[in-house]
Structures are given as C-alpha cells and as structure tokens.
Symmetry: C2
Subunit: 316 residues, 2 copies
C-alpha cells in the first residue's frame, strides 16, 4: 500500500466504523508550565484503550476474504495484542496472539475478554518468533506485525490526521517512539496535510534505539531496554526507520524521573489515566522548552492501559 | 435567591465565563456491566478539578461590589476550598480559607497556587467554626458555605442542567450525596427541565446521614463517618435536607469495597482519574441493577482531585 494523501484518507474512511474519534484536550496549567499551547489527542480513550486499534483494524480490513477466513496472528505483550483481538472480534475473524508468559495479567485478561486465543511462550524474542511461526503453519493465519507493516503505519497515522483536522496551525506534533508505527504514521499525516508542522518524537534515554539509529543513519536494534515506558521497549523496523530518518525533525530523549513527573501531571492536572509511554512527549516538551515557546504543539496521548497496581507503586 | 427555572438558567449564564462545559462520556463495557445506557457528566475535567467550581463562582458573583472588596471566607478541607480560591482569583477577590491542619498536602498546595490565604486550625468542627468566625470579624469577609447556601446549590445544579441539555430522555439521574449541594442542585435541575427523570443519590454505608435523615423525615447529623469517599463525610444542612427529602426518589447505599471496585472501573475502563466520591453512584447502579435495566442513566462524576499516593495504596 503506497503512502499517499489518498491512501491515508482511505484508511481513515475504512476504519472509522471500528474506532472512536477521540477528543482533543487542553490544560491551562500545562500550557503555563510549557510556555506553549498544548493540544492532547487523547487516544487513551480509543477503543481498547490505545491507538493500536487503528492500525490493527486497518490491517485486518485490508486482507482478502480468504485470508480473513483463516484468521490473523501476532506476537505482542502489549496493546497490539488487545487491538488485534478486538478488531478481529468485530470483524468476525479468529485472532491468535502469542504472548510472553510474563505479560501483565491485566493485558492477558483483556485479550481473552476480546475473544483472542492466547498462545504463551517463554519471554525471549526467539521463542516469540518460533511460536508464532508454528501457529501460522498450523492455522494458515496471516501474521500481522505490531508496527513494521504499511497498513498498520497508515492506520496509526489517522490519530494525527484527526488532530490536524480538529486543530489548525500546529507548529509541532509529537508522539512517543517505540517500534515506530505511531511516529511514522504521524509523520506521514503531517507531511500530507500540514507540511509546515514539524514532527518530533519523545524517547526514553533507557531505550533510545530510535535516537541512535537516526544519529547513525542506519537501524540500530534495541538491546536491553531499561524504562518504565513499556510500550517503547521495542526496536524500530526496516519499514519504520526510514520514516523517522527522513520525516522526523528531532528525537528528544528524557530521563525516567521526567517520564514519571509528566505522567503525574497528566493524571493530576488533566485527570486522565495514561500509560507511562504517553508521558514521554510531554516530558520532552517540558524538558527542551525553548523551541516550543509560544507555539501550538500537538501531542498524541497513545494509550491508557496501565496496571493500577504499577501506578500505585510509582507514586507511593 | 428563589429556586426557579429562570434562576437556574440565570445562574448558568452568570458562571459560564468562569467554568468549563465538561464533556459527557460513555463506555460500552460499563453499559454492558450495568445493563443500562450510562452517560457520565465528567466534572472531574472542570476547572480546579471538581463541580464545586460552579457553586463557588456563583456565590461570589452574587455578592455586592462592597462585599467583594472585603473578600470571601470559608472552611473546607477539600474541593470547595480550591474552588473558592480560584473563583476569587478570577474575579479579583481575596479568599480566606480555614483548613484543618491534617488536610492533604496536595489540597493545601492547590489552594495556595490559586492565591487563597490559608488559615490552619486543629481538625475539629468547633475549631473550624471558631477560626472562621475570627477571620470574618477581623477582615469583614463574607462567609460562603460549601453547600448549605442557595447560590451554591444553584451553581452545583448547572452540571445536571448541562447534562440534560446534552443528553435527552434520561430515565434516571444520579449523583453522590455528601453535604447535599450537588444532589440538591441536581434535583432542582431535573425538576425544572426534565420532570420525568428520577433523581437518586449514592451514599457510602459508612457515612449514611442522608439515608438516615430521609428515612426519619428529619435531619440527622453525620457522626464519625468511615469512608474513603472523603467528599461525602459531611452532614447535610438545613437548606439541602429539604431538597433531598422532597425531590430525591431514593438513596442507594454502597459498601467500601463496592466504591473501590467502581473507582477501578472508572480508571481502567473509562481512563479517567476520579475521586472515590465519584465512584459511589456508579457503585450504586452496579449494585441495585434492577430499576436501571434498559434505561438511560445520567451520572455526575463530581471531581478528580485525588492523591495519587492514596490511589496507589488503594489498588496495591
């Protein structure tokens, strides 16, 4: 699927019946702290609680009827697992989800609630890939990648598309970067619909493969990520790296304590439940204040599926 | 100030420049759990984080210029303190807030941030009243009651007014009951603008003075309240009790564990940060399911000013 203005609009039309158009929220207190006008696109209010619903729905909708009849499969410990399970359920498609055995209980329960069939494996990348391969061979299901796939990237780009429709004249647009599906789609949306908007990413210092890859001009895989932002521990893929290399102006890295402080602000000031990953772009804007002074800044709040117990420990 | 359709509309016009029109949110999961269509009026997104902003703004706006020049005063350990401080700041009025010395730090800090002058006292009702009296005598400030005052009750009623404007055909409308300002205003709004809507209140078993008062047909003060719903520990007042006696159909009492479970649902499913008090009406609807089956039910989410550390302990 080509990356064009039309393909992004077509993607949005295709998935619209299966997603929420999420609200844009603002906070006078956070504006004052940042010295900027911040517009938060709240995809924590998305169906199943994260933007991943957009890409998952699009990927299934792009399959042939025959492929759909055999089901879809993925490996994910996080939101893409839930997103694929729910999208598949809504479309009457079987979903096989390979999950590491140490995935949070709340995420496993959610996948099951959405009707996904969980196949557990030991928590290594090799085991995930081997187990997935076996599932695909056994069932004929189509493997859908959590981020390294055009249909998924375009789907994730619809969050920024909606934000750009709802808020005009954004000077900056920020999203977190993990595997790169969200920031990649965001960069495409800005390029097609608001070329003057500069796209930046927030990334934890403890999982800065995107920053390193961009510096080096080549994909450097993530090894041993150390961050509470569990959605951002993955490596970029060969389909997402070029988008970041070419269309993302800058990657701002933040410390763990800055992520926690930004998360506290989202909860205390905006009264929204957000995952640690969501707090990374806000932390970036509050850290590197200078370029954003007096500017209109869009921030994608990527998801709200967080273990309340973990949150409790964070703030205790 | 009389309770009429016109006075409520006038109140809403008066305070509109100083408040947010908060969104109404829904959740398919919670609808399924309740067997009803639930419409949450999210005043946790209100300025300073709670519906109290409405009544506080109205009470100050109804004062004469001379009274305003001498300031306003109240005693409150909670949201009304912040609401009065912020309303006063917006209107260029001095606010004196008597707070018990054991008030949560986050609430004291917020009052100070909003420019309120805090006068601390020992945490007894007698000390609060004596200290307030001394402040009023010293400054000439006007005492504004957190709930037992017509202007405040009408102000709080504007949350329900907005909900009834945004969602038609509600069969039920629920709010928590503490001092009775919110449920009293809610009952007035329903009576004036949607007389077929039945108004009910949720109340913790551990602070059930409203239920007891309604049963007895006379005001029975709250003594020794035991509930995590800190906004609901107060007694009804002589101005709020008659509204509850005459216009509230039923008070549903809930256990502490039911409040915590409902709070978890608001956070996990709706992704909103809410105070324990907010969860009480949802807990009531999930407990006494029968009357609500297949009905359209409005619920006022009263506020989101919660100590994250306390939340953490609740869910750990």
């Amino acid at each position: 699927m080509p990356y064009t203005k039309e393909s992004l609009l077509e993607t949005h039309r295709r998935i619209q019946p299966y997603i929420h158009r999420t609200p844009v929220m603002t906070s006078e207190t956070l504006n004052r702290m940042a010295g900027a006008e911040l517009f938060f696109k709240c995809d924590n209010f998305q169906k199943m609680g994260a933007f991943k619903m957009r890409g998952a729905a699009n990927a299934i909708l792009c399959l042939s009827d025959e492929a759909r009849s055999k089901g879809v499969a993925t490996h994910s410990s996080g939101n893409f697992a839930q997103a694929l399970a729910l999208s598949a359920k809504m479309l009457g498609v079987k979903a096989y989800i390979v999950m590491p055995s140490n995935s949070p209980a709340v995420k496993k329960a959610a996948v099951r609630d959405y009707g996904g069939e969980i196949i557990e494996c030991v928590p290594t990348l090799q085991a995930r890939e081997d187990t997935l391969q076996a599932v695909v061979e056994r069932t004929g299901a189509t493997f859908l990648h959590p981020y390294n796939q055009e249909e998924v990237i375009l789907g994730q780009g619809t969050a920024a598309l909606e934000l750009l429709e709802d808020v005009t004249g954004l000077d900056f647009l920020l999203a977190p970067v993990g595997g790169g599906g969200l920031i990649g789609g965001t960069a495409l949306a800005a390029r097609f619909f608001s070329p003057k908007t500069k796209v930046m990413a927030g990334e934890p210092f403890g999982a800065d493969d995107a920053w390193q890859s961009k510096q080096a001009g080549q994909l450097i895989p993530q090894t041993n990520p150390q961050t509470i932002a569990d959605g951002l521990r993955t490596s970029l893929g060969d389909k997402t790296f070029p988008l970041i290399r070419d269309f993302v102006e800058k990657i701002i890295r933040v410390e763990e304590r800055e992520i926690i402080e930004a998360l506290r602000l989202l909860m205390e000031r905006m009264k929204i439940v957000a995952e640690p990953s969501c707090a990374v772009p806000l932390a970036a804007v509050l850290k590197e204040k200078e370029p954003f002074q007096g500017k209109r800044v869009g921030i994608i709040i990527s998801g709200g599926n967080v273990d309340l117990k973990m949150l409790g420990e964070l703030f205790s």
